[in-house]
Symmetry: C2
Subunit: 218 residues, 2 copies
């Protein structure tokens, strides 16, 4: 979605993008921008900072209260203040006019790639295996292993803290929220179960015990 008031630029952008296999839509009604955005639900927004009726940065700020739709800010000024503000308001990237078309395309590609993995939300990697968080499935070559909910939480937590020692308390809180947690052995058992599954795909020593400190995913 292109949000820009100079028609020439709109058409240029639109042509460039359509030529590169992106579908484009040009926002007409600036006054109603937020509603239009939600109605269309675009994959990415090119947002000119200087559009009539509303303030581009304010629009971005309001958008970010409800949505993570990727936004690339476009501007004619190249003051660093704009850049800084856009980023802190949640823009995914920033480009100044006049822009090099190839750079713009690359930046769009980069932002989409970044946010797409964010959308899928689900894929983490560890060495030569992939972990789909949503499904709780680990894939290595053609072998698949299904984790249960607790195992998913533990493995995701360890993956997100790879090569760092993770205390048992951290894991306990991650699974049970300390409040309703009772038995100290429950974590040990669940770690054990996860280890057994990892062993099936050759990661026998992936989770290392650091006695008195916790566990570490190597």
């Amino acid at each position: 979605m292109i949000i820009e008031d100079e028609k020439l630029i709109c058409n240029e952008l639109s042509k460039l993008l359509e030529n590169n296999n992106y579908e484009t839509i040009i926002l007409k009604d600036f006054k109603n921008a937020l509603n239009e955005i939600f109605k269309v639900s675009p994959d990415l927004i090119l947002l000119d900072i200087n559009i009539p009726f509303i303030n581009g940065e304010a629009l971005l700020q309001n958008l970010r209260k409800e949505s993570n739709i990727p936004v690339i800010m476009v501007t004619s000024s190249n003051s660093e203040t704009d850049e800084a503000l856009s980023i802190s308001y949640g823009a995914d990237d920033y480009i100044t006019k006049p822009y090099n078309p190839n750079i713009l395309l690359l930046r769009i590609g980069a932002v989409l790639k970044r946010t797409k993995t964010n959308y899928n939300a689900n894929k983490l990697t560890y060495k030569d295996l992939k972990f789909d968080i949503t499904k709780g499935i680990i894939k290595k070559n053609n072998i698949e292993i299904t984790l249960t909910k607790n195992e998913i939480i533990i493995f995701a937590y360890l993956l997100n803290h790879q090569n760092k020692i993770v205390s048992r308390d951290e894991l306990i809180t991650a699974i049970w929220d300390t409040a309703d947690y009772i038995n100290d052995n429950a974590l040990t058992v669940n770690i054990n179960r996860l280890r057994n599954k990892l062993k099936e795909i050759g990661y026998e020593n992936a989770i290392d015990t650091r006695k008195g400190m916790g566990y570490i995913l190597l």
Copy 2:
């Protein structure tokens, strides 16, 4: 982690970052960069494109084969080729020397914010609720609802395709992989269960049926 050969700049950067409550570590052994990175497992890397012994872009490319550690490319040239290449090789951001310290800090903050939500991997939002994919927990104000595995897959899928119609086949494939799928009613039942849970937190009509086409999360 700072990967940069000009010691003056290293020290400047280090001071700037430490003053802003970041822990820094300066990479010394460029020849062994990749191993060092894995050993330290930094939260973010500032990578100068022109370092001795190795090529910055090649290092980034190799790093990206195994890790998503956020990388901001730093360079003295401001040729667009560098910028374009860095981005396509998987840099999270790019900054040219001489840089404005405040801009650098903002960009670091922005990248960390972006990648942190990526790390947590787990948080999706929908209107005024938050969904923790890993735990399968929906939070609205102080109410918590726990989803089961199938419900998590459905809700995550719908969230990732908000305002778009999602066919029953897509959902079936998402849950069962078509191969081992048997009963057509199973999806309907699971949708029903998810709807009942959403109803508990006031999202009675969130999942809308589009007869003959599928479902849509409004």
